[in-house]
Amino acid sequence: MNDHLETLLRSTLHDQLDQVQPSDELARVAAQRGSARRRRALVAISAAAAAVVGLSTAGMALLQSLNGDSLTASTDGLRTAPAPPAGQQAVSFHGIQLFVPSDWAVGASSCPGTGRPHVRFVDGASAGCAEAPAPVTSVLLADASGQAGTHYAALATSPAFVDGKPARRGRGPAPGGAPVADVLLVPQTGAVVVVFDLEQAGFPVLDSVHFAEVDQVGCRDQITTFVPPAPQRQDARTELLPGGPVRVGVCRYVDGWLMRSHELAGAEIRGLQQLLGAAPIDVQTTRAGRCSVAQAEGVLLRAEYATGEPVVLSARIDGCPWQVSNGTVTRGLTGALITALTDAVGHTNSLGNTGELPTQ
């Protein structure tokens, strides 16, 4: 418990916090409460009047935050990712976004081909191929706490900034000695961006890195729970995913951070709806002893409709438990469903139990 870092944490927190004092504003809270107590009757009348004229937007937001959580809370006011310039596509990873040319391949759950420039993720989704640099221009996205991320993060030794926040840049060899890579470490989110510009394409990938609280697909950068609130839509109280969504985004989270996101195309949406419709009513419960040590990993699916509230489905893909839910309707999670949910957003399979997934 008493290693260097823990000692440093204690001294840092006490150094930063011990001298903090509340302003007079906080003291006024008590005074206002006292006044409010004396004016209780007046407050009651005001509250009744407010109820008649309807809740304000802020009031609605507050109620939403009290009753729900970040899965469906309004994203108004959050820093939404800018749209990519013409001819480019946005890639989300670990709280950041970056732009790459539209014709680059963005690695899915299999090793990308080496014939054209591409983006790879070192998050387990491309196990076995992610750390070996391909002989073409490519971008590698890694978590700074992982093995590859640690190696590249150590190369980033020069001060830099991302959206005004401190970061580090550097240049050095990949494991094994070559090729040379340009590296950007974003300490705020733990993301490491590595560019192997073998073709010297000169595309400014590192310069395009930016923070986004909501990405292009509509996924929040961080969540604190996989439990969705009860849906507002009437039809979502009987159906897992009501028909007719106009936009469906899949967001994959590991330990609370957005790792990958993807907007489903029409055929993908229809296929997913079929699988959800066939999901078993019997829900397999959590296997005791496995979940407690696993990192939280799961997928949120956000379906927007032409009218009415969106519907959010959540599915933990680490077996804790094997079920998909919209907050009211819950069904069993089948292997085919997991594949459909995670195909475009990777799957670290942190428990190593793909072979044990329940099947239909």
Binding site: T7, L8, D15, L17, A27, A30, G34, S65
Partner: protein
């Protein structure tokens, strides 16, 4: 941190007694004094509602912290500390290496997820055992240990926070 409500204590007294600690706690969570005070103030406002209904729990300090954590972890607190080029330059020029190191550590804390940050603040500033942290956050103790382990692992990847000869604390 835990105290039983004093039957003769008014809400005003409660704010005066607990306010400074709550603001420090909020600052630890958010990484920003103003945001920390906003968080404490919002929590106190909600506590006031419970106080009025005479449903304010016995362990009032812990309850106030639990309310703060709930607000914080739901992501309603969106302020993130920003560092300017001048800030960094000032820090780098500081002759006391330990001060720079603590400053870097403070900023590195802001790079963790909200849940990880909350666990570290409760463990290393409030000196709470993991069982009490689990109670406050409403999750299993194993989850707390997992959050702490992953947070520490992430911080250990930062070169600036590794021990170096001559560092004093």
């Amino acid at each position: 941190m835990v105290s039983v409500r004093r039957t003769d204590e008014s809400f005003d007294d409660f704010v005066v007694r607990t306010g400074p600690a709550l603001v420090r706690f909020g600052t630890g969570l958010t990484g920003d004094r103003a945001a920390g005070e906003d968080l404490a103030q919002e929590a106190l406002t909600r506590c006031w509602s419970s106080w009025q209904r005479s449903s304010f729990p016995e362990h009032q300090d812990a309850y106030a912290r639990r309310v703060m954590l709930r607000i914080f972890l739901r992501g309603r607190e969106r302020t993130r500390p920003t560092a300017t080029a001048t800030d960094i330059a000032d820090r780098t020029d500081d002759p006391a290496a330990s001060v720079v190191e603590r400053d870097l550590c403070w900023h590195a804390l802001q790079g963790l997820s909200r849940a990880q940050r909350a666990v570290l603040v409760l463990r290393y500033y409030e000196d709470l055992p993991d069982e009490r942290i689990a109670d406050l956050l409403g999750c299993p103790t194993s989850t707390i240990r997992s959050h702490a382990a992953r947070a520490l692992a992430k911080l250990r990847t930062l070169d600036e926070l590794r021990p170096h000869p001559g560092a004093t604390r």
